[in-house]
């Protein structure tokens, strides 16, 4: 039986992980786009991304496009596995597995 991931289960972190997982095989997602997709504020998104980065679920890439700084995020292999496990757990709860 799959396990609940307390870190991912927080609503905004769940959205961040879902957005990054949807883009897992592509280039890292820009901060502004992630903000629009998750409907978060700058401060909220930044703090939750940091929490996910500390857990090793997300990698934050900072670089420059010309002279403009750019922040992007991508889900790590550990994060993918954790997200899949959490989704499996949620499905099992909905389907009543283990009741």
């Amino acid at each position: 039986m799959a396990q609940l991931d307390e870190l991912i289960h927080q609503p905004l972190r769940l959205k961040i992980m879902a957005a990054l997982y949807a883009e897992r095989d592509r280039q890292p997602v820009e901060f502004s786009r992630l903000k629009a997709v998750t409907q978060a504020t700058d401060g909220n998104l930044g703090s939750h991304l940091t929490a996910l980065e500390r857990a090793g679920y997300v990698e934050i890439v900072k670089d420059f496009v010309g002279k403009k700084p750019r922040t992007r995020a991508t889900v790590t292999p550990v994060g993918r596995k954790a997200f899949r496990g959490h989704v499996d757990y949620l499905r099992e709860v909905v389907e009543g597995v283990g009741d």
Binding site: L14, K15, A18, A19, A22, D25, A36, V37, V93, V94
Partner: protein
């Protein structure tokens, strides 16, 4: 600590909605540059049509070909990234190309069937058809396409009715410029 069935269902629904928004955002990110390319092609084509009407046919064919090839390349570049399926990217590119060719063929064939006597009709017709196609695309998936298509449709009719003498230049500025602005708007979605 576990979660209730209701809470789990709500979380799954959140995941589904976020994934859907993510795919939509990616669609806009890919479509924006393609629309801007077609905007530039319209500016060049309609300016040439306005300045040298006799060159019209010779100018539009290579421009359309450039547009189709550029659309394929941009679609593939937008989809393909390290680890992405090359097959999916190629599929999107070919679908874009076949769609553009189908619209071009439809415009040419219907124009030949109805043979309008008004010399401004062939100038306005592509704007109306492209406007319609974008509205249909927007109704199905990407709403911004619907707004751009509706604006193009109305702008074309305004130019046809109110400014027939400068219609090619109107189409270059309003149609081509509008597509470029629309592409920019999509890219920022």
């Amino acid at each position: 600590m576990g979660v209730s069935r209701t809470e789990a269902a709500a979380a799954l629904s959140d995941i589904e909605q976020t994934t859907s928004r993510s795919h939509l955002s990616r669609g806009y990110l890919i479509s924006g540059p393609i629309l801007m390319t077609w905007g530039a092609i319209w500016v060049a084509g309609y300016l040439a049509t306005g300045l040298k009407p006799e060159w019209s046919g010779a100018v539009w064919l290579p421009l359309d070909l450039i547009g189709v090839v550029a659309s394929i390349v941009l679609a593939m570049r937008g989809r393909s990234a390290p680890g992405a399926g090359a097959g999916a990217a190629a599929g999107l590119g070919w679908r874009s190309a076949i769609g553009a060719l189908a619209v071009t063929a439809f415009i040419v064939v219907t124009f030949n069937l109805f043979r309008p006597v008004d010399p401004q009709a062939p100038v306005a017709y592509p704007g109306l058809i492209c406007g319609l196609v974008y509205v249909i695309m927007g109704v199905w998936r990407m709403t911004r396409f619907a707004w751009i298509g509706a604006a193009m449709f109305v702008a074309t009719l305004i130019g046809y009715r109110l400014f027939p003498d400068i219609l090619p230049f109107w189409m270059a500025a309003v149609g081509g410029g509008g597509l470029m602005l629309g592409g920019l708007w999509m890219r920022r979605a």
